[in-house]
Structures are given as structure tokens and as C-alpha cells.
Subunit: 364 residues, 2 copies
């Protein structure tokens, strides 16, 4: 599989949903496989909150494998011997695309909290402009999970003729109060961490010692990505062996897991990016910009494929099934599958074998 990692620089203004303008801006992206002669074999992959454009394989510069490598590759469900697969780092994220820590023009100082608020609509628009710049105007499919699934649906509504298929996994048609509440933990924990300095921290300030506010917020995130059952299976009530049961700060295994993963995360993920992406998730509602949800979905021309996970405690199966019913009631081509899983929201990442056949089927 040929992997190519690139930065695309745009000097034309990006008009954002907020009314503000981003100019210039950069999009980091990675491609897998080869574009055919008439540019008709393209699949776009959209990533989640903490994801990046490194979706598959192992780019030269990377020492870790892509986050959806189980799904994408030669002979895999998203087959890179047939398809040219593109994954972009969303605007606002910290892996190469323009973000709050990018330099503002013309001051050449990082935007920080002056960065404009971004929405899922904006992230999608930026990707359209990238695709256009590559001469790609038609996609075979757009596939994404969680925030990636929101983007996939937003593409379907905002750009009806872009993609033959839209596959949205572990997502929702609008973010509910439950998910916003989980994000609130992170927002407050980051803002109130004194080392956050209202966003005026040094670049790379947290490489050695992560920002504890981000780590704390990420614990809440992890809870919502797992499920009671998966936690029971993984951790039970096991105690960290060298901690005492009667020590106040002695830990259960689930606590050690949370500490370890979130401390690591806070060393490589930028807290301003986290705030901006979480904001985009919170404000996600497919109907914004249209008179009603019906008006929004009546625009859709793609075939919509919704996949939820029975134990998803962040975006519940019921959200997807209700959205599917609404699509059907409005005569929008739509399939829906609730994958039985104990893995919670994370199932879209860790149980690819449970839905890869469905994706193969869609792409056939």
C-alpha cells in the first residue's frame, strides 16, 4: 500500500459558519493506494476527537500504526488495491492542520483563544476545498466514526452530490445534553488548570509533564467511550497489587488504567485543540442552517448507512435508530445496523471485525 503524507496550503479565505474567516490555512492529510485515471475510486475517511490523518499503515515519519488500520489496507474492507483513500486532519486539531496554536496572519503569533470557533460544517467545508484542489469532485464513500460519523452525515446534507455512500458509525444526528455534559468536565478541567494560563502556555509546554486538567477531563471521556460491561470484564474490582486497600489513594485497576492513558494523552494532545474540537462536537446539529431537521435531510442524495453499537454510552443506539426512522419516513435511502457489542463507544475502533463485512457489502 502506497502511503503519502502531505500538507496542503490554502491562501484563499475559508468562510466559517461563525461568519469569521480563516486565511491562510493548512490541511494535513494522508492518502493510501492510488488514484485511478478518472478520479473515480476515492474514499474519504473522517476521524474522531483525538484522531488524526494517520488512519492506516505506518507512514515513514510515524512509529505507530494508523487508528483504523484494521479496516483500511490492501485486501481489507476498505481495499487500498482498489480505492484511493484520503484522510485529513480536521481543522483545529493538533496534528498538522491549522489549529489554535498555528500562527495568526499577519501577526505571526499563535491564535490561542483568538482562534475562531469551528463547527463540523467548517471541518467538512475545508475537506471539500482540499478535494477540489486535488481534482476530486465525486467520492465512492465517506466513512467515519464518532465525530467522524458526524462529519460523514454533514457531508451528506451540505454536499448532496458528493458521495455515493455515507457510512456513519457510533455517531448521532445532533449532540445531546448527555454528551455535552461529559465534555463539560474537560472544558472546566482544562480552563481551571493554572498551567493552562488562559491558553498562553509555551508551545510544547506539556511534552514532559502533560496538562493535568486535560488528563482529568479525558478520564470523563474514557468513561463515555467504554461501557459498564467492558469495564467489568477488563478491570472487575481488581486492586493494583502494590497499593493498599486501606490507603486513601490506593487504586483499583480501573483507576490505574485511567491515570496511565490520560496522562499519556495529555503529553501529546494540545489542550486548546481539545477545547475547540469539543466545542465543534457540542454544537453539532445536522439541522442548523436549515429550517428544520426534515429540510436538512431532504437534501440528501447519498445512500446513508448508519451503524451503532448496542453498548455505546456516549451516542446511544436509540439516537441512530430514531434518525434512521426519520430518513426512511422521508424516503431517504438508508440502512441501519445495531452491532451487538460490550465494548461501548470504542467498538468502532476495536471491533472492526463486527462491521467490516457490512462495509465490504456497501462498497461492492
Amino acid at each position: 500500500m502506497k502511503i503519502s503524507t502531505k500538507l496542503a496550503h490554502f491562501s484563499s479565505p475559508l468562510y466559517l459558519e461563525s461568519g469569521r474567516i480563516l486565511e491562510p490555512y493548512t490541511i494535513a492529510y494522508e492518502t493510501y493506494g492510488e488514484l485511478n485515471s478518472d478520479n473515480s475510486n476515492v474514499i474519504l475517511i473522517t476521524h474522531a476527537l483525538s484522531g488524526s490523518h494517520q488512519a492506516a499503515g505506518k507512514a515513514d515519519s510515524s512509529n505507530k500504526v494508523g487508528w483504523w488500520d484494521d479496516l483500511i489496507g490492501d485486501g481489507k474492507a476498505v481495499d487500498t488495491t482498489k480505492y484511493f483513500v484520503i484522510c485529513t486532519n480536521v481543522l483545529g486539531s493538533c496534528f498538522g492542520s491549522t489549529s489554535p496554536m498555528s500562527n495568526n496572519y499577519p501577526s505571526h503569533q499563535p491564535f490561542r483563544l483568538k482562534f475562531p470557533v469551528l463547527t463540523i460544517k467548517d471541518m467538512v467545508k475545508a475537506q471539500i476545498l482540499l478535494l477540489s484542489s486535488l481534482g476530486i469532485y465525486k467520492l465512492k464513500a465517506i466513512i467515519g466514526g464518532s465525530m467522524g460519523g458526524m462529519q460523514a452525515l454533514q457531508f451528506a446534507v451540505d454536499y448532496p452530490y458528493l458521495s455515493e455512500h455515507i457510512v456513519s458509525l457510533a455517531a448521532t444526528d445532533e449532540t445531546r445534553a448527555w454528551a455535552i455534559a461529559f465534555n463539560k468536565v474537560a472544558i472546566e478541567a482544562i480552563r481551571q488548570d493554572p498551567r493552562f494560563l488562559s491558553g498562553n502556555y509555551e508551545k510544547d509546554a506539556f511534552l514532559e509533564q502533560g496538562l493535568s486538567g486535560l488528563a482529568i477531563g479525558r478520564i470523563a471521556g474514557h468513561i463515555s467511550y467504554l461501557s459498564p460491561k467492558s469495564m467489568d470484564k477488563k478491570f472487575a474490582r481488581d486492586y493494583v497489587s502494590n497499593d493498599g486497600l486501606f490507603e486513601l489513594f490506593g487504586r483499583y485497576e480501573v483507576e490505574r488504567y485511567m491515570e496511565y492513558n490520560t496522562a499519556n494523552f495529555s503529553k501529546y494532545f494540545d489542550p486548546l485543540s481539545y477545547l475547540y474540537i469539543v466545542k465543534a462536537i457540542n454544537t453539532f446539529s445536522l439541522q442548523r442552517g436549515y429550517d428544520s431537521k426534515e429540510e436538512a435531510i431532504l437534501r440528501i442524495k447519498s445512500n446513508i448507512h448508519l451503524i451503532s453499537f448496542s453498548s455505546d454510552y456516549l451516542f446511544f443506539s436509540s439516537e441512530m435508530s430514531e434518525f434512521h426512522e426519520l430518513l426512511i419516513a422521508n424516503n431517504i435511502s438508508s440502512t441501519y445496523e445495531d452491532v451487538q457489542s460490550d465494548y461501548g463507544h470504542d467498538a468502532f475502533l476495536v471491533e472492526v471485525y463486527k462491521f467490516e463485512d457490512k462495509i465490504r457489502e456497501i462498497l461492492k
Copy 2:
């Protein structure tokens, strides 16, 4: 209804499950109604994490009504014209009973982080000693929700002949990893708040400006006390009207609710107490101290009544129903009801009308 608020001082040592000793110690408690001549009309109420001994009515010193006033009072399900009702503030809590901020003996300095770890077993033992000191050796019922429901079950196992009935609501037989993970947010947020000062803050330091670490942790708590449905009903995707949708820190109503309630909470609840009580919840397992869960429950002589709430996202209905099955399989007298509710874990506090008849029936 006669209300009496008291402090009971004990100079004898309390032997804790950890092997440590608490001596002397104080228990704050409140009583409602009047004790009959043969001390046979007593009901004990046990409180949850943030509760206190002020369970009903309005004590002279208080300007708020008790937390279970819907349930307890003259002519109510727990009828104070018939019963003498006692509610104690659990050891470790900050409403009058001995806690981490109490003075250690003989140093006369607050214990702070030197306070011994307490367990649900210890809280229960301390209440037994209080009851004994009042000449009460037999109870009509012990009724509690959440951590109060854990205490009720622990009484049933550790003191088999104490109470005719045990009513445990919105609780579990052992705290699962899911609940421990929610508590982890609070533990880390408190510990890492610089104003926490490793527990060496001034007494009353947070009366004016609460400890933000506790407030952040409490957001995670509130998520687990509510449910996706109750949040949808209460907040939908409503936006705080004077915040802008495209302001980074503009807030949804659910965010304002979380901010308001948790900031308030952090002004009156002591963070060290929070850490110690959360630890007691985490370590709760009915079987600890016995060879197996079966061995523990085979001790039970009381009639057990389990009440769960269908939308409880902290202690799931399935935990209660499985425990009920285990009791039945071991020939322990047990009833179980899953109350249909959208209110989540908090239903035991806010939807008393849905289970008061059941409690009336039990006490008949």
C-alpha cells in the same frame, strides 16, 4: 413532628476495618417522632455521599428541608406519628460527625490526610454503637438510597438480628469499575487542585470560593446521577441566551446547570470528606470479610427489599436484579422492584411518589 438534633460523643475506641482506631469520635444525628416505651418503633435512615443527618423536616438551626422529606414525616410513608426515625451523619462526612477536618487526639490538630480510611462497614459499626448508647437493639427497618442503600445491606450482613426489614434503593452489592471510574474524576480533580494543598487548606477556606477541583469532580458525579433521557427533557440543546453559539466558552443550559450546582456544592462540602467518602463507596463489597458472597448473604435474617430505577446509570438495575436472584437462590427473604423512571440515579430522591407505597406496604 418532633425533631431533635444531637451530637453523641464516644470516648471508647472504634476499631476500624483497616486495623486502625478512631478515638474519641462524635456522631451527629437527628431524630423524628417519639421513641415508644419498649424502644420497638425505630427506623434508621442512612444517607448518600453528599447527604447528612438532616433527612426530614426543618431543624431549628436549618433553613432547608431534609433531603428525604417527601418520604419521612407525619402521615408519610415513614410515618413519624408511629415511628421514631433516626438518621446519623456518617463518619467521615462534614456535617458534624468525626471527619478528616476534626481534631486528632491528642495533637488537637485536624487529621487531614492522616485520617484513617473508612469503609461502609465502619460507618455501619459506628451507627450500631450509637444505637446501643440509646438503648436501641432492634429496628423495624433500615432504609437508604445509593451509599445509604449500601449501608442498609451491610447492616443486614454484619448484624443479622438488628432489623426486621432492610430497604436498599438505587444501590448495589459491590461497587463496579464503572462507578469507581466516575469517582476517579473527583479524586484526581481534588488532589491536583493547587488550592487543595495536599489537604492542608485552612478550615472554611472554600466558603467564599469553592474548590474548583471538587466542582469539576462533581460534574462527573452529576452525570452519573442523571440519565440521557432526563437531561434531554430538562435541557434539550438549549443554549444560555446571553452566550453566543460561536463563543468558545458559550454554554448550553446543561453546562450552566452543571456549573451552578457544582460551584455551590464546593462551597459547603469539604473536599477531604469527599475523598474519604468516595473511598468508602469504592471499597464497598458486601463479601469483604467473608469467604464468599454466598457466605456473606447466608448470614442475613432480615427481610431484604431491593428497589432499583430503570434509568439509573450509576448503579444499574441489572446489579440489583442479579443480587436479588442470588438472595432467592440462597433462600434469603427478598423482594425486588425495578421502578420505571427517566430520572436516573437521583430518582430515589426526586420520585418518592413512585416507591412510597411499597415502603408503606413493607412497614405495615
